[in-house]
Symmetry: C2
Subunit: 506 residues, 2 copies
């Protein structure tokens, strides 16, 4: 496989030719294809993509949703577009536009000329786009094999700063419905192009849940860098698999959450290197962070010099670590551990029972928090706690309550996390009231109920749940069971040896 | 950083010097150290390790458990050793021994001479080891930083074939107690050596649970290759971090299970390449497998030419994929999906209730199995099912039963997996008998109990549990809750619009 740097290729010495950037001489690619060189993706795809206006025309012909757009050739045309689409108006160069270069915004009709001039004038080849009122930018990396099989990576959120990709969060924190819609648009966009390889599809998510295509890159892309650490197959391996005709690898994530942070040049020359190296030094101290430094010879302001990927058990966990890497305020450094289990109870009178769950979590070294949250006396707090738990990195909630025990069920209704309910025995009915209030949930909202007053078992159940994906915890649970068994066997032996009478009266 | 290939190093051009193999000229290393070159690990460590006899002496002086051993200088000495240690007797070269080279076994006193001759005679420098009656070979990769901080990778099992590492399973399927013991021995062994870097500690596990040190390699090692895909920090990055003095990375696994399979030369020359390439082609079609081909110029029988790492949600899953890669009998290829959830019930009369759990798992595309396993009528089958579920790759068990409903609790007592209990209502007591039989478990053995007859909630609870580490499933659960909410809102709207009377009599 050869990366295109010059046109001097002999067909018999080149198995397949691919590109690492779409801004290449496409006429040369087409000539090579005619000579029999196998280009993946096809020159036709590069031709469509390297001209952003052509790209829009192509995708709109294939019924891919995208912001309205039109070519402009002079001020009159620009004004017409302004009348049609309103302001702010996005003006773009058709070609050689990336990382925000080739984009200019006119806030009003008076700003049209200066925006056009900033882009080099109408002769450059310009078009305008209706402003997309997006709430998030999403991206989907898609791989297509030579057999036209297609796999899509999980939808990510890209956060830009001054038009340059700054942070990528995987997976995007959007609903499943939005993820499906974004994946569908990306799939259809790539299906409309020719040739094999990785394609990065950049998308807008609007406030009303629409997905609009922004643009497509026909190659491994900044929005897929985190796949190196977070997915079973990185976008780079996948690109090679695709272009040489191997089966496509599994694109799914092997960790729950990942953040990619671009190391951008902050300053020219030596001072820039010093700043970047300070960042890298901090990143090397962050658990589960991986540093990539591209070793470019020069540093320039806003130039991509490298990136850091942080992976972890939840988005809130990796966000916390990113903050600590960036030394943001309110971020405690590495020592800050996100609690994985929330232990809550309706009243402090439940604490003597609920403490047993905490003891188990201590024994297994699982970080947790203990809080009083009452369904009846602090309903707002309960609402906030339950609906924000997942975002805070909580993975399991253990809720204890007595009597008309609504806390576990109400919390379960407000979170997608597993909720374990502990019926606490209060004055009447020996706890049967608590048990039935907790266990008899309607279809749709499960509470994992344990025995009355048995918070020990709630803690153990939480460990078993976490053990599903943590071989260490699972092994420790087996050991716990063996230790318990041995404890009973010791007693059995003593009874055998001493006889029941002296066992009871030692 | 420079990898030692020749002695021509200038101190000022070399930040730190490390080795990729311990069989180097240690006198040169020591000379370089005297000249001020920074060697990591220290020449003293390489000197100890490259002479296996010296290594044993060193570790026994540091109270590391290892098989008994003694130097032999002639046949008489060998016979004395045979009398002392018994047969089979392991005879080893002190130096230049790896991948089984330099080892010979004498089955009896009569075989001593031929074994010694096979190793090149007593002049070569030989010693004998008492045969270690091991049941498994384990290994622990340990990293030590320049500040003497130490981190240990999870204990793995290494499986050798003709003395060459063939397969590595991570983590090792041994009890937590054994893992702790193995890690402790590895930690102490590395602590006794000087210098920074990765150390691979090979261990024997004996039938009575003893851990004996076999040998230590002062470098990244075959038993750590799977860390590239399965751990947060690969052994190679970790070695660099260690020797240049950066903070050590997190050594823990980011996937539940991994297998490393060595691609050994099966044949000389072209036929060997063809066989290896056939294997690689199959490996490329196995989901979650990564191929590493070392591109060595020549292939030789038993030479390590590359390796394949397969990672996945459970050891049984990756074992299944390995089988399919090796085209072993009884292995169905990629289509074979390990069930993640086991739905079991005491009787087929429970099926009309329990089917609802299966429906939910279908909806969320989670693979499952449905079986009849009765605690009272097929106790042996229940025992086998529960105690083997984890090894078969089951992650959660949903058990339904009615009346004196013992199945969920008995199963929970026999597995470390989370067990969800569904009380099935039978003839008497409206299901309260089933509920109390399932939920009122003693301390130590939790059953996550749902409402009477509510297998839907059991399925949903299983999804929530799996969602702890699967961001996709969690997002789908949120979507499910939103859909349910919208379903109720639609009804509410209809009631609002139609009024209660026509709502009831449409």
């Amino acid at each position: 496989m050869t990366v295109l740097r010059s046109g001097n290729l002999q067909r018999d010495r080149c198995g397949v030719l691919t590109v690492e950037i779409e801004h290449v001489d496409v006429a040369t690619l087409e000539m090579l294809e005619k000579q029999g060189v196998d280009c993946q993706p096809k020159a036709s795809t590069i031709r469509i993509i390297q001209d952003k206006y052509l790209q829009k025309v192509h995708f709109s012909q294939h019924a891919i949703p995208l912001p309205e757009f039109m070519q402009i050739d002079d001020l009159e045309g620009a004004k017409r577009a302004g009348d049609l689409f309103g302001y702010p108006l996005m003006i773009k160069s058709k070609r050689l536009a990336y990382d925000g270069r080739g984009n200019a915004v006119a806030g009003s009709v008076g700003e049209l000329s200066s925006a056009v001039n900033a882009l080099g004038g109408y002769g450059r080849g310009l078009y305008v786009e209706k402003w997309a009122p997006f709430v998030k930018e999403l991206a989907v990396v898609v791989a297509r094999g030579r057999d036209n099989s297609i796999v899509c990576y999980p939808v990510v959120e890209t956060i830009h700063k001054e038009n340059i990709c700054h942070i990528v969060k995987a997976p995007a924190n959007v609903t499943w419905e939005i993820r499906k819609r974004a994946t569908d648009v990306a799939y259809r966009a790539v299906s409309s192009l020719e040739g094999a390889g990785i394609f990065a599809v950049e998308l807008f998510l609007t406030g009303d849940g629409q997905i609009l295509l922004n643009e497509v890159a026909p190659r491994p892309h900044n929005s897929g860098h985190q796949t190196i650490e977070s997915c079973y197959t990185s976008q780079f391996e996948q690109h090679l698999r695709a272009v040489v005709g191997l089966p496509l690898g599994d694109p799914s994530m092997k960790v729950p959450a990942a953040i990619m942070y671009n190391i951008l040049g902050e300053d020219e020359g030596e001072p820039g290197f010093i700043l970047a190296h300070q960042l890298i030094r901090r990143a090397l101290g962050i658990p589960r962070a991986t540093v990539h430094w591209y070793d470019k010879p020069e540093i320039r302001k806003q130039r991509k010099m490298g990136h850091v990927t942080i992976v972890g058990p939840s988005m809130s966990d990796v966000e916390q670590r990113l903050k600590s890497m960036l030394k943001e305020e309110g971020s405690d450094c590495q020592s800050a551990v996100t609690p994985h289990v929330g232990i809550i109870m309706g009243s402090d009178s439940d604490l003597p029972v609920m403490k047993d769950a905490a003891k188990i979590l201590n024994m297994f070294d699982v970080p947790y928090e203990v809080k009083i949250v009452s369904a009846h006396r602090t309903p707002e707090m309960m609402f906030t706690y339950a609906s924000s738990a997942r975002e805070r990195g909580i993975q399991i909630i253990i809720a204890g309550a007595g009597g008309a025990a609504h806390l576990p069920g109400m919390v379960a209704a407000l979170t997608p996390l597993p909720v374990i309910g502990v019926p606490v025995r209060v004055s009447a009915l020996d706890g049967l009231d608590s048990l039935l209030s907790i266990v008899q949930m309607p279809r749709g909202v499960p509470v994992a109920t344990v025995a009355i007053n048995n918070a020990t078992n709630a803690g153990l159940l939480a460990i078993r749940m976490l053990g599903i994906q943590d071989a260490d915890l699972l092994a420790r649970m087996s050991q716990y069971q063996e230790d318990t068994r041995n404890g009973v066997l010791t007693k059995a032996e003593k009874l055998e040896k001493d006889g029941w009478e002296s066992y009871l009266n030692p």
